[in-house]
């Protein structure tokens, strides 16, 4: 057993311990940390004359159950049908996107675009529809795929709201500052990115709500 081979075995063993856990930065760091720990421990045991097999099986015995650790890292977790959840979230996106792109299309229609407004609205709408279609196909292929997801969405929701706010504020500032300088921009257009990017926090919040409250995402008998 070379050192490299041992480290490789440890790597796959630790990967296996975290199988089915949604990947986050914290989880990746914990894996890396445990890997270093186990490598140290095996090297130490072998230096004391313990065989590699014995050293490894001692480690396996110690690391039996990681539920407590993973729960501590992720907050509380829940097992859900992930493909179904994605499909629901993106379907919600299509509903919002349809209303949004109709409004955008009407706005462009009345701002000297006429019927060529559809060339803006249709691609915009496809941006919502295609991911939803892909999610639908994926769901049909693997409807019962489950995974553990964290119930704590605050970080993601905060990030999405912050992102939305920053981009929107910048757009509004640019819109208002330059409203009279060029003839092309003599209109209020900043509502378009504001409403468009709002899709992001909306989807994050919708997903968080579904995972926490939607019974049909919960596998039975678990």
């Amino acid at each position: 057993m070379t050192e490299k081979k041992i480290e490789e075995s440890v790597h796959y063993f630790v990967r296996g311990l975290f199988r089915g856990i949604a990947e986050t930065e914290k989880i990746a760091e914990q894996r890396e940390e445990l890997e270093a720990h186990i490598n140290d421990r095996i090297a130490d045991s072998m230096a004391q004359g313990i065989s590699y097999e014995k050293a490894f099986s001692d480690v396996v015995a110690s690391l039996g159950n990681l539920d407590e650790l993973i729960d501590t890292i992720t907050g509380t977790r829940k097992k859900i049908y992930v493909k179904k959840a994605s499909l629901f979230m993106l379907t919600g996106g299509v509903i919002y996107g349809t209303i949004y792109m109709i409004a955008t299309g009407i706005w462009f229609y009345f701002h000297s675009f006429g019927f060529s407004a559809v060339y803006i609205a249709i691609p915009g709408w496809l941006g919502y529809a295609i991911p939803a279609l892909i999610a639908y196909i994926d769901y049909k292929r693997h409807p019962y795929t489950t995974a553990y997801v964290s119930l704590d969405f605050s970080e993601k929701i905060h990030a999405s709201i912050a992102g939305w706010l920053i981009i929107s504020i910048v757009c509004w500032i640019v819109n208002i500052l330059f409203i009279t300088t060029t003839s092309l921009l003599t209109v209020i257009w900043a509502w378009i990115p504001t409403a468009g990017i709002f899709t992001w926090p909306l989807m994050e919040a919708g997903y968080a709500w579904m995972v926490n409250h939607l019974k049909s995402l919960e596998p039975e008998g678990d």
């Binding site: 760091e29 940390e33 270093a36 421990r41 110690s62 690391l63 990681l66 407590e68 650790l69």
Partner: protein
């Protein structure tokens, strides 16, 4: 190194993992395996603080702001994550140790060990 946590007393010790970890970090910054090994050595092999419990304690204490983690700069092998106790961590550690002394004294008195 087998089945140490099946020995009598391990359940009682389990309730004091935070005290153990904070005490060891109050002495100096250490990485995970160092803490693991130190517990084993100091207990003369009688108590093994298993990895899931140890790292749960790290994550918990980190979340509560009693310790903070930083990555070391090892050149060979993987990098290591070190832990340092914070000021609030020192206060909390002192409090936990004082509580243990009180509990120990009371138990000793009740059980007639003195």
């Amino acid at each position: 190194m087998k089945d140490k946590n099946d020995t009598i007393g391990s359940d009682i010790i389990r309730g004091h993992i935070d005290t153990i970890v904070l005490t060891l970090l109050a002495e100096k910054d250490r990485y995970g395996y160092e803490v693991y090994k130190e517990v084993l050595t100091r207990s003369e092999g009688a108590y093994e603080l298993k990895e899931p419990s140890l790292y749960s304690a790290f994550r918990r204490l980190e979340g509560q702001g009693y310790i903070r983690a930083y990555w070391g700069e090892e050149t060979q092998g993987g990098r290591r994550k070190y832990y340092a106790i914070t000021d609030t961590g020192r206060d909390y550690c002192a409090q936990l140790r004082a509580e243990w002394q009180v509990a120990k004294r009371i138990l000793d008195t009740i059980l007639g060990e003195n």
